[in-house]
C-alpha cells in the first residue's frame, strides 16, 4: 500500500505559491509611502518688545509680521518635505495643529500650518511629490534674545 505524503505535484504547486507570494510581498514593500524633511522651517531674525505679535512664513516662503514683532531680516524659508510612494497614488498630508519652539528659558507657539498643495496629492508617474510648509509663530512680549527651536510632525496617508 502506498501513502505518499509529499508528492511532486503538490510540492511544486506549493513552491509556485511561495514564489508568487514573495513577488507579491516585494511589490507590496515597494508601495510603502515615505516622507522626509528636506529643509527646515526658518523664521529668520525678529525683534520683540512690549507688544506681542506674530511672524508668519507662508508656504511660498514669504515673511510677514504683526503686532510688536519686528522683522530684522536674516534668512527665512518654508520647510520642504519629499513624499514617495506608488506611482499615480493619491495621498493625504496631515499638518500639525500646534507645535512649540523654545529657547532662552521661554517658549513660543507654532500654529496655522499651511502647505503649497491641496489634498489629495497626486504622486504622479514618478511616485514622488514635494511640499513646502509654512506656519505662524506667536511671540510674547520681551522675549530674551536667543535662538528658539522646536519640532513638528507631518503625516502622510494613502487616500
Amino acid at each position: 500500500m502506498r501513502r505518499p505524503i509529499l508528492t511532486p505535484v503538490p510540492f511544486c504547486a506549493a513552491l509556485l505559491i511561495a514564489a508568487m507570494s514573495m513577488l507579491w510581498s516585494a511589490a507590496a514593500q515597494a508601495q510603502a509611502i515615505t516622507i522626509d524633511q528636506r529643509r527646515d522651517l526658518l523664521f529668520g531674525r525678529v525683534g520683540t518688545g512690549d507688544i506681542s505679535g506674530t511672524v508668519t512664513i507662508t508656504a511660498s516662503g514669504g515673511k510677514t509680521t504683526t503686532g510688536g514683532v519686528i522683522d530684522l531680516g536674516q534668512n527665512h524659508r518654508a520647510a520642504r518635505f519629499r513624499i514617495e510612494g506608488p506611482k499615480d497614488a493619491l495621498v493625504i498630508v496631515t499638518l500639525p495643529t500646534t507645535a512649540t519652539v523654545s529657547g532662552g528659558g521661554r517658549s513660543a507657539t507654532l500654529s496655522n500650518f499651511t502647505m503649497d498643495q491641496t489634498n489629495p496629492i497626486d504622486l504622479g508617474r514618478s511616485g514622488r511629490a514635494t511640499i513646502d510648509v509654512g506656519a505662524t509663530l506667536s511671540l510674547g512680549t520681551n522675549l530674551p534674545a536667543a535662538t528658539y527651536s522646536g519640532s513638528f510632525v507631518i503625516y502622510v496617508d494613502p487616500q
Binding site: R3, P10, L72, A108, S149
Partner: protein, 258 residues
C-alpha cells in the same frame, strides 16, 4: 453504469492519478463510482496537506507589508530673536550762529570726531555736528538712511539743509558692547522767496472729482457750516510728497540691520 464499467473507470482514474504521483490504494470499494469520488477526495486532501505549510508561510511573508501605509516625518523650526536697534539723539545739529543768520558755508560732520556732550568741537564757523547713539545686536552691520532735504522757514526767511552725511563709514557696525555712536552733518544754504514760491507752485494739483475747489497754486476752498450759514475758506493744501516747508526742524535717522 453497471458494476463492471464503474470498476473499469475507477481503475483508469487511479492509473492516471498514479502517473501524476498521487496514488492511493486504500479504496477497495465494490462500486466503481464510489472509487472515483474517493480518488478525487484524496487528491484534494493530499494537495492541501502538502501545500498548507507553504501557503501559511506565504501568508506570513505577505501580510506585514500589506497595502500602502501611513508615514510621518519630523520637521524642525527655528527663529532667532534679537534686540531691535534703538536710536537716541545726543546732540542737535547746529550752525551755532542761528539758522537764519548767513550760514556762510557748509558745515559737515565728516570732520567732526565721535563724541557727545558736546558731540564735537565746533568747526571754525561755530557749527556742531549732530550725534546719535545706536544700540542693538553686537557686531551687527546696519544701514543708515538720513533725511534728504530739510527746509526751515520762519518769519525772517528760510534755510535749506541738504546733503546729510555721517561718519560711520561704508559699512556701519554696532560695537561688541551693542552700542555705536555716529555724528551727522549737513550742508545749509539760505533760501529765498523765489524758492519758497517755486515749492508752493509744485504743491498744486488736480482737484479730486467731487472734492473742494482748488486753484493751480495748491489753494483749496473748503466749505464750513457756521451759525451764519456755509462759509468758504481758502487754505493751503499740504503737500505730502514735497519738502517740509513750515518750520520743520527735525531730521530722521533710520537704522536697519543688514
Amino acid at each position: 453504469m453497471d458494476g463492471a464499467a464503474g470498476l473499469q473507470a475507477g481503475r483508469a482514474a487511479k492509473a492516471a492519478a498514479c502517473r501524476w504521483g498521487l496514488c492511493y490504494d486504500g479504496g477497495r470499494q465494490a462500486g466503481g463510482g464510489v472509487a472515483v469520488v474517493a480518488q478525487v477526495s484524496h487528491l484534494v486532501s493530499s494537495f492541501i496537506r502538502s501545500a498548507l505549510p507553504a501557503i501559511l508561510l506565504s501568508m506570513l511573508l505577505v501580510l506585514p507589508p500589506g497595502t500602502p501605509r501611513a508615514a510621518g516625518a519630523t520637521g524642525t523650526a527655528s527663529v532667532t530673536i534679537a534686540l531691535p536697534a534703538g536710536v537716541v539723539g545726543l546732540q542737535q545739529l547746529s550752525n551755532a550762529n542761528g539758522f537764519l543768520a548767513p550760514p556762510e558755508a557748509a558745515f559737515a560732520a565728516g570732520a567732526a570726531p565721535l563724541g557727545f556732550s558736546p558731540a564735537a568741537a565746533p568747526p571754525p564757523s561755530g557749527g556742531l555736528a549732530a550725534a546719535v547713539a545706536i544700540s542693538g545686536v553686537p557686531n551687527q552691520t546696519f544701514s543708515l538712511t538720513l533725511t534728504d532735504t530739510l527746509v526751515i522757514v520762519t518769519d525772517a526767511g528760510e534755510l535749506v539743509v541738504t546733503s546729510f552725511d555721517h561718519n560711520a563709514g561704508a559699512s556701519p557696525t554696532i560695537g561688541g558692547d551693542g552700542a555705536a555712536r555716529i555724528s551727522i552733518g549737513a550742508t545749509a544754504r539760505p533760501g529765498n522767496a523765489q524758492t519758497l514760491q517755486q515749492l508752493q507752485t509744485q504743491s498744486g494739483g488736480a482737484t479730486p472729482e467731487g472734492g473742494p475747489a482748488a486753484d493751480g497754486d495748491g489753494i483749496v476752498e473748503v466749505t464750513v457750516q457756521t451759525e451764519d450759514g456755509p462759509q468758504v475758506l481758502r487754505v493751503q493744501r499740504p503737500d505730502n510728497f514735497g519738502p517740509n516747508l513750515f518750520g520743520e526742524k527735525f531730521f530722521t535717522v533710520l537704522v536697519s540691520y543688514n
